[in-house]
């Protein structure tokens, strides 16, 4: 039953988030903006369309979106959506599998982009792997900090019942949330790392890698991107709202938290400018430093 609810949230909810973000951005710009459910309509339309394939592409290009989405879905099975909704699969060390599944999805997307032979897509792929490699230490240091503070190697135990842990490690957790927000923005190609609305291929990161995908393939990519945003957001929301309640109230609270997360992303996108490309590595290294500081605080607390 709980697994069914977990899967239902996982499969149905994520496409709402980009809609919320776009509405917030539109409100800031004084526009009405697209409907909140726009991504659902787009997906439905794309799924019924045919596809165009470049003559240089091979099976790698066709497998890219499939593998990426599959990896994200399996990663989602490892994440709890609250105390009442533990992850369907939890075991010691699942945090590492989670991070590597994101990596597997990225690898498939990057290879599919390189398969087109387009210089623009190669450029986007190059940026994507660069930022991902630099974001990796921040993500893993955050994971190590949480693991040490909570004495567990599994997401489900790490992200539930952490009210007492907040009392002990509050400042460290706040820094971890900062680092994780930076990682989430970078991994999901949001401002200030990448502008999802840009129309100039030269300046794109993630969007340019999927230029050649069309029809159902593109639907898989858009759906996967919303799930990725949802997953990294879910970690932050669970960490930032450590409240426990009855399962019904809990689900409502979690989903409300996710909407708040989307609003925050929208606010960031409306108020920040995009960074220059050569600044991005510095910000990502700063995220690692944040996480390392949090880790140091936790180490001192644990040994005290």
């Amino acid at each position: 039953m709980r697994t069914a609810l977990h899967l239902a949230i996982l499969l149905l909810f994520p496409p709402l988030l980009p809609g919320v973000i776009n509405r917030v951005k539109a409100a800031f710009a004084g526009r009405r903006g697209p409907p909140v459910l726009q991504l659902y309509f787009d997906l439905w339309k794309l799924l019924r369309k045919g596809a165009v394939y470049s003559v240089t592409t091979t099976w790698i290009f066709r497998a890219g979106p499939v593998v990426t989405l599959a990896a994200l879905l399996v990663a989602a099975l490892l994440l709890p959506f609250g105390g009442g909704l533990p992850a369907p699969a939890a075991f010691p060390g699942d945090v590492v599998l989670f991070a590597y599944l994101l990596g597997a999805g990225r690898f498939a997307t990057v290879l599919a982009a390189l398969d087109t032979g387009s210089s623009f897509e190669g450029m986007g792929a190059s940026r994507e792997v660069t930022f991902a490699a630099l974001a990796e230490p921040a993500l893993f240091l955050s994971i190590a900090g949480l693991a040490l503070a909570r004495g567990t190697l599994s997401w489900t135990a790490m992200l539930s019942g952490q009210m007492p842990a907040w009392h002990l490690y509050g400042p460290a957790f706040a820094m971890l949330i900062g680092a994780l927000i930076l990682v989430a923005l970078a991994e999901n190609s949001r401002i200030p790392f990448d502008d999802p609305n840009t129309h100039l291929e030269l300046t794109m990161v993630h969007e340019v890698m999927v230029l050649d995908h069309s029809g159902p393939d593109f639907a898989l990519i858009l759906y996967g991107a919303s799930i990725k945003l949802f997953l990294l957001g879910a970690i932050i929301v669970r960490l930032a709202f450590p409240f426990e309640a009855s399962i019904r109230a809990h689900v409502a609270l979690f989903l409300a938290g996710m909407i708040v997360f989307a609003v925050v992303v929208g606010l960031v996108e409306s108020t920040f400018a995009r960074l220059r490309m050569n600044r991005i590595p510095q910000i990502l290294i700063a995220a690692s430093v944040f996480a390392a500081l949090a880790m140091a605080v936790i180490l001192i607390r644990v040994n005290a």
Partner: protein, 651 residues
């Protein structure tokens, strides 16, 4: 043990036979491959039995000069013997067609392959120091002979000599280590856990790290490796990178068993060397322009990951945490086998590409997957495996190392905790960089459009070369999904090293769950692929050219190059890589030549090896000047030495 001896005899017989038949090239190579296959069939069953059942098999004899000698098949040895047999067979089979395509004599390669496998088996089975060192020496020499196959090229000779000199220099440390150990034990036989003082244990461990680390390719003694691997025939590169450098890891683990209690600081130093090798190895790989050289640097990275596991295991034992040690050693041991599998796979497919396109310069290739679908698919699987991506085998061993590091964070003393956290973050960065590097390598070589005519003329390699690659690729997938079974075969060697059963640690659930979720990943991907096919079934898929933002006259040379692909990361890490840039900038509006070149020579080579070689060259030149030129002076010197000796002993 009889079967093992039979396998060794088969290898020796195949070596003799193929040397005799050397003039009939195809037959000699087939005999050599047959010898390896026979050894696999004969020796694998007893080795697997030892792994599954634990226990030790011993064969002892008395040598009139050296006393008791022995061949010992214990779980640790068996763990290294099994991949040796499997991978050497693959390499030998691949080598038949690979070498026949060239026009050089093949007798040395045919016989040498059998003999190096024989030497490898003896290294793993040796039960005393003399036998070990003798086999070690033979292995080094055969490796030298095999890798200098194309010895008419100067760079090949240079790489071979560098290998020979460096590994011999390191072997002197091993001689010292075994000598000291046998003085302490009063015997050359390998025992367990000599009760040494911490100082003596540290000294012996340092000697072992230098001696074995050089063979393994640990930073900063790795310098022979990126020189030697690219110039060897590909199946020899695979053999060197997959098996020969692993003898360094085996030796190190054996030495920790012989030394017994290794102090915490020694483990910490080993962990530090592991982190340095992993990070600097993958960064150097990123900056390479030649495919086999890139792969060679990845060997250094992976040796680093193995050393992180081994060092952490020693630290955990010293800290009295055998459960952490068990997970760490399990990760190291499993990564030894996994790296042997995917690195030999990658070298074999790189060799096939090199044969088909006559170049391995990454920026001259492209689109090879179209012409060589099976080779390309094998390479991509190997690339995903070496990046540690689930559901392939590389992930399982890296997962164990990560888990051991996380577990160590919780239980180590403060300094150890900090180092474990640092290694954890560094390993994460290495994972991201490896993915970047292999996206570059597989993307630029196999995907997109061919950049040169050589790349567009490529033809798929013959079946005898593709077969071993596909077998290795399949093994990478299967090994990634067989966590519960790995738990069983790993148990005996892990217990030998760490003293605790792996099944008693959290790694048990981890191994089972990662295998199950790996299978789930494949199933979900299959389901999505089916849905996609169903959706596209209704609409015909159209073909077109790649979207170039409206530009119509696109040529393959406009593709993003591998060098540009790696450029942002090289720019971030330029303080470590010290890239050298040569540029011919455009001076006039219609400049005839515009060029830019960037190379990142190995800093160790630039700042340590080259000055040392130059310095010793100057010193030796001085010595040569002092050397007498007449024979009479030599006779006089010998006479004086003899008189002095007689006077000293008798007078």
């Amino acid at each position: 043990m009889t079967l093992l001896l039979a396998a060794m005899a088969a290898l020796a017989a195949a070596a003799v036979l193929s040397a005799v038949l050397a003039s009939r090239r195809a037959l000699a190579l087939a005999v050599s491959a047959g010898g390896c296959l026979a050894a696999l069939a004969l020796a694998a069953p007893p080795a697997v039995q030892v792994l599954l059942g634990g226990g030790t098999r011993t064969l002892t004899w008395t040598n009139p000069v050296l006393g008791q000698q022995a061949l010992v098949l214990d779980p640790l040895a068996a763990w290294f013997v099994v991949p040796t047999l499997f991978i050497s067979t693959g390499c030998a089979v691949y080598g038949v067609r690979y070498l026949l395509a060239g026009d050089r004599p093949v007798g040395m390669q045919a016989a040498g392959t059998n003999l190096i496998v024989l030497a490898l088996l003896t290294v793993f089975l040796a039960g005393d120091a003399i036998l070990f060192l003798a086999a070690w020496e033979l292995m080094t020499i055969f490796a030298f002979l095999l890798l200098t196959h194309e010895h008419d090229r100067a760079e090949v000779r240079r790489a071979g000599l560098l290998y020979l000199v460096l590994t011999h220099a390191a072997t002197s440390c091993l001689l010292a280590m075994f000598a000291l150990l046998s003085i302490h034990n009063g015997s050359l036989r390998f025992g367990t856990g000599a009760a040494l003082s911490p100082g003596a244990a540290s000294a012996l461990f340092t000697l072992a790290v230098i001696g074995f680390g050089c063979k393994a390719g640990a930073w900063p003694l790795h310098i022979w490796l990126p020189a030697a691997h690219p110039v060897a025939p590909s199946q020899i590169s695979a053999l060197l990178s997959g098996l020969v450098i692993k003898t360094g890891i085996y030796g190190l683990l054996r030495a920790t068993l012989l030394i017994g209690r290794v102090p915490m600081t020694c483990g910490a130093v080993l962990l530090g060397i592991g982190v340095a090798s992993a990070v600097l190895g993958v960064l150097a790989a990123l900056a390479q322009h030649e495919l086999k050289r890139l792969l060679a640097y990845h060997s250094i990275e992976n040796i680093g990951i193995i050393l992180i596991g081994a060092g952490l295991g020693s630290m955990a034992l010293a800290a009295g945490r055998p459960a952490v040690a068990a997970i760490a050693f399990a990760g190291a041991l499993l990564h030894v086998v996994n790296h042997a599998l995917f690195k030999s796979l990658l070298f074999l497919s790189a060799g096939a590409v090199g044969r088909a396109c006559r170049t391995l310069q990454i920026d001259r290739l492209g689109g090879v997957l179209r012409a060589m679908p099976r080779t390309g698919t094998s390479f991509v699987i190997g690339a995903a495996a070496i990046c540690g991506l689930p559901p392939l085998n590389g992930f399982v061993s890296e997962f164990l190392v990560y888990m051991a590091l996380l577990a160590a964070c919780a239980v180590f003393p403060v300094a150890g905790q900090a180092e474990a956290v640092f290694a954890f973050a560094a390993l994460a960065c290495v994972g991201g960089l490896a993915a970047a590097c292999f996206a570059k390598a597989s993307g630029a070589v196999f995907l997109g459009a061919p950049r040169t005519p050589a790349a567009s003329d490529a033809r798929e390699a013959p079946g005898a070369m593709v077969g071993p690659m596909l077998a290795l690729a399949a093994t990478c997938v299967i090994a990634g999904l067989s966590g519960p079974w790995l738990l069983r075969v790993l148990d005996a060697p892990v217990q030998q090293l760490g003293g605790v059963s792996l099944a008693a640690t959290p790694a048990r659930q981890g191994l089972i769950a990662t295998a199950a979720l790996g299978a789930a990943l494949i199933a979900i991907a299959g389901a999505i692929a089916l849905i996609r096919r169903g959706l596209l079934h209704r609409q015909p898929a159209e073909s077109s050219v790649t979207w170039a933002c409206g530009y119509a006259a696109v040529t393959p040379s406009m593709q993003y190059t591998a060098s540009s692909f790696a450029r942002p990361l090289i720019a971030v890490f330029r303080g470590v890589l010290l890239p050298q840039r040569r540029q011919i900038a455009a001076v006039a509006p219609f400049a005839a030549t515009v060029a830019v070149e960037e190379h990142s020579p190995d800093p160790v080579e630039r700042f340590a090896l080259d000055p040392a070689l130059r310095g010793s060259g100057v010193g030796l030149a001085l010595l040569r000047r002092a050397q007498p030129t007449r024979v009479q002076s030599y006779v006089l010197a010998i006479f004086v030495a003899l008189i002095a000796l007689l006077w000293w002993r008798l007078g």
